[in-house]
């Protein structure tokens, strides 16, 4: 009886927005994958499999939606623990020095790192809900930082730079949302900027001057300021060392951003062919199934990371704008709901999902047109890939759950 009432209430409160956006976006993805497949001699089976994953994703969307908040809250840390164990499995099973991103279950594999995104943001939400703090000291950041850095290191071992950056992205957005002081936030971000600036002498020098100025006007103890400054200089200094530790293909991905012609058949080749696909698509595209770049296999990984090139080439600027607008609505909705949530737990989950979405959408859409390094991040709902499709569906299911009208009363 109680359960029936709960389910009834949940259905009454149901937020059609998330479901609608998720269905529209995954339909666009299926259309693009179908376009790739329809022209190929032998069926790759991508369309069928992605359809199955989408349906499974929808089932899990409702599964997560109907999950009582209390259960989610209670199980958050356990789920996080399971996620870490799943991340450890490929490392434990590593063969011949290579770590797989996949755990094989029968004939298909799952990517534990995708599910870890949900587990991490729910765990962070629980932490911030349970510790009702305004994050006024650095010490209070230690636990959430530890929660984030663990999985980050594990995915870096795979090595999966993109997902590692997503984890860090979730952390940065969540602590900002949780109320970190702007100065602390700035200090937290400085090491990252220092490392990037260290690639070039002049920019590093300018950045260091900026840090000195800001530290000078801040009201921290003198030695804290000095310590902070030294950390930044040291980080800049060891950036080259870290650079040398990157895998050559990772270095190449970053380098090819700077000069996309430097490696015509590597990452630069991908981007160059991708630009051609988009540019030749023009305002309205070449029409469904007519993309020459797509069907003549000029684009590697066209069904995964470069899926948008199919939409760009065949449906033009108009098609791209529709997809971008849908993503904007989805993310803006998440942020609005997050701000409007009555409870902190809901709010952090919503902003965490928004962070994951922004990160994936922006990095993917930017890298395929050459304004970000090719980091290998798929586009939610659209790129081919079962684990991420399911994860993304679960994330919006979770968001719909958290954003239920009832609690949007602030």
């Amino acid at each position: 009886m109680i359960i029936r009432k709960y389910l009834f209430d949940r259905l009454r409160e149901f937020d059609w927005g998330y479901l609608g956006l998720a269905i529209l976006l995954s339909s666009s993805g299926l259309l693009a994958i179908y376009s790739i497949e329809v022209q190929q001699d032998s069926s790759s089976g991508y369309f069928l499999r992605q359809s199955i994953w989408s349906v499974l994703g929808l089932v899990l969307f409702f599964g997560v939606y109907f999950l009582p908040r209390k259960v989610i809250h209670n199980l958050a840390y356990y789920a996080y623990g399971v996620g870490v164990v799943l991340l450890l499995i490929p490392i434990a099973l590593k063969q011949g020095g290579t770590v797989s991103r996949w755990i094989s279950i029968g004939s298909f594999g799952i990517q534990p790192s995708e599910f870890m995104k949900i587990f991490l943001l729910v765990a962070l939400a629980k932490y911030f809900a349970d510790h009702k703090r305004k994050l006024s000291t650095i010490k209070e950041l230690m636990a959430p930082f530890a929660m984030t850095i663990g999985p980050t290191i594990l995915v870096l071992l795979q090595p999966d730079l993109g997902t590692a950056l997503v984890f860090l992205g979730i952390f940065i957005v969540v602590i900002f949302w949780a109320g970190i002081r702007p100065l602390y936030f700035f200090l937290l971000l400085t090491p990252i900027v220092s490392m990037i600036a260290a690639f070039q002498t002049v920019s590093f020098f300018v950045w260091m001057v900026l840090i000195i100025v800001i530290l000078y006007f801040s009201n921290m103890p003198f030695w804290t300021k000095v310590f902070n400054f030294i950390i930044n200089v040291a980080l800049g200094g060891i950036t080259n060392l870290l650079w040398a530790l990157l895998k050559p293909y990772q270095q190449q991905r970053i380098l090819s951003l700077i000069d996309s012609d430097s490696d015509p058949l590597g990452a630069g080749y991908q981007v160059s062919q991708s630009l051609t696909a988009f540019g030749s698509g023009g305002p309205f595209g070449k029409g469904f199934g007519e993309g020459t770049q797509t069907h003549l296999k000029f684009l590697p990984e066209q069904h995964t990371d470069f899926i948008m090139t199919v939409i760009g080439e065949e449906f033009g600027f108009l098609g791209v704008m529709i997809v971008i607008t849908l993503f904007y609505f989805l993310i803006a909705r998440l942020i609005n709901h997050s701000y409007g949530s009555k409870y902190r737990f809901d709010s952090v989950i919503l902003i965490g999902v928004a962070a994951v979405m922004v990160f994936h959408v922006f990095v993917n859409l930017a890298m395929i047109v050459g304004i970000m390094p090719v980091t290998g991040l798929p586009l939610p709902y659209i790129s081919y890939g079962g684990s991420f499709m399911v994860t993304a569906m679960m994330m919006v299911g979770l968001s719909a759950n958290m954003a239920s009208v009832r609690r949007m009363t602030r």
């Binding site: 900002f176 030749s280 023009g282 296999k297 704008m321 701000y339 409870y343 809901d346 902003i351």
Partner: protein
Amino acid sequence: MLQGKNIVEGWRSYLVQGLLLLLFLILIGRYYYLMIVFHEKYAEKATANHIRAIPVLASRGVIYDRDGNIIVDNAPSYTISVIPVEIKNKPESLDRLSEIMQVSVKEINRRIVKNRRGSFAPAKVFSRVPFPKISLLQEHRLELAGVTYSIEPIRNYVSDIDLSHALGYTREINRDDLERFSKDLDYQPGDQVGWKGIEKYYDSELHGQRGFRYIEVNALGQEIGEIVDRRPINPVPGHDLILSIDSFIQSITEKALADSSGSVVILNHETGEILAYASRPSYDLEMLSGRISSKDWNALRKNPRNPLFDRGVQGLYPAGSTLKPLAALYSLENLSNARDRTYTCRGSYRLGNRSFGCWKKAGHGKVDLHEAIQQSCNVYFFNLIQDIGLEDWAHLAREFGFGQLTGIDIPGENKGLVPDTKYMNRKYGEKKWTKGNLLNIVVGQGDVLVTPLQLAQFAGMLAQRGFQYQPHFVNKIVSKSGEIIRVNSKQAEKRVIASDESWAFMHKAMWAVVNGPHGTAKAARQKDWEIYGKTGTAQNPHGEDHAWFIGFSLDERYPFAWAVLLENGGGGGGKAAPLIGRILRSIARKDL
């Protein structure tokens, strides 16, 4: 604490919303720039990406003899290439190819590196592959990923006549020629162009125009299919040439020359058509068509007998006594009492303290002009030239085409040398040359240099009483559809003016050379038709004398004029005259 309140400040939300908007505006701006502003540029790039124009070679014109028998046509030649990028992924293909072709993988790899034009473009590894190997390749094509073959037309020498020097050969066009030709003609890298002979001279007619078909390729450069909305451009085949060469005469001429070094040119003096043209030693055109190994090429080039040298138009020789008719004709026209003048030959002629010998050491005794021509008496002409100025002699020689190009339709002709006063002054200094030089010149020695073709033309003009017909190899140029593109003129272009009596005298004297009791060329005599001629024995500072025989027939069935040269062949009467005698006998026998 599930009931913990949300404490996010408004400014954080606005900042995050603002940042989101900024990021999306950046994206929109970038996509707008790419897809709207630069659409044209990328559209072109996408087209270039996937459309390839594949050249379709035009077939080269066929060369026929005068009777329409094929001398040269085209045959398919198979070329095997590999696509480097595909071989890289499938090295076992090379092992299989190596087995089939019986060539080591190392050698194949060396050729790939040598002919590589990029990872996706086929690199030639074997050319002129025999068909059975291609069948084998077809059978095993599944194990030969990245190995392709193509068919190119190459020259096919159908006829058993040799005619190498006149026909010439084709070669793949080189960069220089490409720059030179491409101004007015459609030549592309990889085209075969005429390199020597008729193939070169008539290349623009023979060449044709390549066509294109448009195919769609994928990122690996693999063919997907024809492009439907882009019509292929069909190749225009080259025009056919109908030569003046008579295969029968050519064939017996080649047989008659056999292994000697020398040249025979037989032409129709009524038209200028070249009926037979041989230069020996010769070379195998088959070997030079398409690709020749550098070893074979060097062997040809360094052969001391110089087979690549076209003696008929490039070889410069002293003419010897074959030039005596020049002075004879001059005297008939310009000196008083010329036909009755007699000189006594005692075997040599003294000029100052030098002695100039006649070929007959015992001397010819008292000879007139007729006898002097028939017996080729040097002393008579030594005397005669005393009354002729060098300038006048040289003028007449030039009128007969010596010292200038005949304009024959093959490239590389030499114009020879007719020494005149200006030339002698330049060479020896003014007044430094003497009557002695003149004595050599009048008997075709000294500075005089002629080609066999020039002498054949000379013989023809004597036959035609001074009318000159342009010697030529090609009678007609005909398009593949049968349209006649060009007919080489059969009209006389020039004439050396002399009286009928003079011509008649010359003919009679030259008849006597062959038919007279003391004639030097009795071996050229024919049973039922009249042969006219003049022998020559050209002294050669480098070795034994060159044997010459020039002549003609006025028989209406056989309006032939010829020049025969046998390098180091000794006496003209002894070697050259019998050779043409054999050829003429074969011609007559065939017509019986």
